[in-house]
């Protein structure tokens, strides 16, 4: 009996370490094949790139922990970035009053995040109020937010932004790129929320067994709406970083980001059926996806094969996860 328990514990520990082991193996293989991989410049470059996915995936993890899904994060990212860029560049005109309301960088960023939050809230509201499956509700939002982005930008990139704004995506602070700081703050906040707050425990409870959570007095609808709102806000934060890095808001920014985000969550060990997973696991998943993307580019792998490889990695992660949790 004792031996069986020990073996089970050992297996569980090993399962937790799998993403980390995968990352080390991946880094070792790529660094053997490309001498450019383990250079300081490339490492910071990868970190900058994954910081966007980390922001989105952190929100996605909270959603998936509740057994939900959010397919709209890529579109919300685009709209958040576009709103910020548009307000920063053009402000708001009140012709009747001969009044112009300009936005500072802070104001424009907050407005972008606010719009992301509102769309996230709307996701949560439709899911809880009308019992629409999260997949469908957020799929609808994917189209709505993309359409709104096209309307706001008129289909053209918004360029010529204030020079200081690009600091957000390209600047450094204490020798570390600013996007890495931003994603770091997001991750730490999310870890604190999931581990140290009531809402964090509610999220796990809802994902583990929604009925049991309801019967134990948790206001499920309120928690769900809050989590989708946070996911929307974090997608918009990702949009700020992307817009700042490009020094332009592209109407088609963030296309397919939801898939990279879900991939990071799944590879990081979060169960798609909810109730199990960690933010740190997702960060590892995002790093694996980022390293994989970077490695495939450095190794001159065709972009078409890159997609195939990424798909296979995600599939392998899910199969391994299933195998680990057989019998649970």
């Amino acid at each position: 009996m004792q031996a069986t328990t020990t073996t089970k514990d050992y297996k569980q520990q090993l399962a937790k370490l799998q993403p980390l082991i995968a990352l080390f193996v991946l880094c070792a293989i790529i660094s053997l094949l490309s001498d450019k991989f383990l250079t300081v410049t490339n490492v910071w470059n990868v970190m900058r790139q994954i910081s966007v996915n980390i922001c989105i995936s952190t929100g996605m993890t909270l959603v998936v922990l509740m057994a939900g899904i959010d397919l709209s994060v890529g579109s919300i990212l685009a709209l958040g970035g576009a709103i910020t860029a548009g307000l920063l560049k053009n402000g708001v005109e009140f012709s009747s009053f001969n009044l112009y309301m300009g936005f500072t960088i802070l104001g424009a960023c907050l407005a972008g995040i606010l719009v992301g939050s509102v769309l996230g809230w709307f996701n949560g509201w439709t899911i809880t109020r009308f019992k629409v499956p999260p997949f469908v509700a957020t799929l609808a939002m994917l189209t709505i937010a993309r359409g709104l982005t096209m309307l706001w930008t008129k289909g053209f990139p918004i360029t010529g932004l204030e020079r200081n704004f690009s600091y957000l995506g390209t600047g450094w602070f204490l020798g570390i790129p600013l996007p890495v700081w931003i994603s770091g703050v997001v991750v730490i906040a999310a870890i604190l929320v999931t581990n140290k707050t009531k809402i964090g425990r509610y999220i796990y409870a809802i994902g583990g067994n929604e009925n049991a959570a309801r019967l134990s007095g948790i206001n499920i609808n309120r928690v769900k709406i809050a989590v989708y709102t946070i996911a929307g806000a974090l997608a918009a934060v990702g949009g700020l970083i992307v817009t700042s890095r490009l020094d332009a808001a592209q109407p088609n920014a963030g296309v397919g980001y939801e898939l990279d985000s879900i991939a990071a969550v799944v590879i990081g060990g979060t169960s798609l059926s909810g109730g199990r997973g960690t933010i740190l696991g997702t960060v590892l998943g995002a790093v694996i996806i980022g390293v994989l993307n970077n490695g495939l580019v450095l190794l001159n792998v065709s972009p078409f094969w890159q997609q195939v490889v990424k798909g296979l990695v995600i599939l392998a992660a899910v199969i391994i996860d299933k195998a680990n949790n057989k019998g649970e």
């Binding site: 402000g91 309301m101 300009g102 500072t104 802070l106 990139p157 360029t159």
Partner: protein, 209 residues
């Protein structure tokens, strides 16, 4: 009661502070006047570039009689010495000049054979005048002088408009057998050099009588 009032008071102060740091107000007509003064006029820039920089400097274009043999014998030197480009890619641009004879007139180009290199053909575009060939081949427009890439690209669009208005009417009057002098911008791929299909955007073309 007292605690919750304090909470709301702090929240209100934070909100007011953030709002104060987030937005500012101006008179709309003043802003519009500022904006119109700041707006980059690509057409004006292109016109100035064409008349004050490009046209007076056309004699600096590399002679095609020099360039083609050098591209065949020592392409690296030819690219280093005569080409311009913005990035680090393989596509490079040359501003060339030379003399030729009109061999064929197509729907969207005119084929010239080079007078001193009769086997060398070059196609002068007469319909599709797009891209950045002239701007980049000149080597006289610096991207760092522009606030954003859209302004920079609009310069190309305006230069192409000038070519359509000022140069193409002359090119379109050419007939098979005409001898001409020409100055054109061409794009060549450093990694996959193909001299048998040179396509040029005309900058100046004159018939030799």
């Amino acid at each position: 009661m007292g605690k919750s009032v304090l909470k709301y008071a702090i929240a209100a102060i934070v909100f007011i502070l953030v709002a104060y740091k987030s937005v500012y107000f101006k008179k709309l007509d003043e802003v519009k006047a500022e904006q119109s003064a700041k707006t980059f006029d690509a057409a004006k820039y292109a016109e100035n570039f064409w008349t004050k920089k490009l046209t007076p400097g056309l004699h600096n274009a590399v002679d095609i009689d020099t360039l083609i043999p050098m591209l065949s014998s020592n392409p690296r030197q030819a690219f280093d010495k005569y080409s311009h480009a913005l990035g680090i890619g393989n596509l490079r641009y040359f501003l060339i000049q030379g003399k030729g004879n009109v061999k064929a007139i197509g729907e969207d180009d005119i084929t010239l054979s080079i007078t001193r290199l009769p086997d060398q053909k070059i196609k002068i575009a007469t319909l599709f005048i797009f891209g950045n060939a002239v701007r980049d081949a000149s080597g006289m427009v610096n991207i760092n002088d522009f606030n954003n890439t859209m302004d920079f690209n609009n310069v190309s669009a305006e230069i192409n408009k000038i070519i359509r208005v000022k140069v193409l009417p002359v090119v379109k009057q050419l007939k098979v057998g005409d001898d001409v002098t020409f100055t054109s911008a061409i794009e060549l791929n450093k990694a996959h050099l193909n001299l048998s299909q040179i396509e040029a955007i005309p900058v100046a073309v004159q018939t030799i009588h």
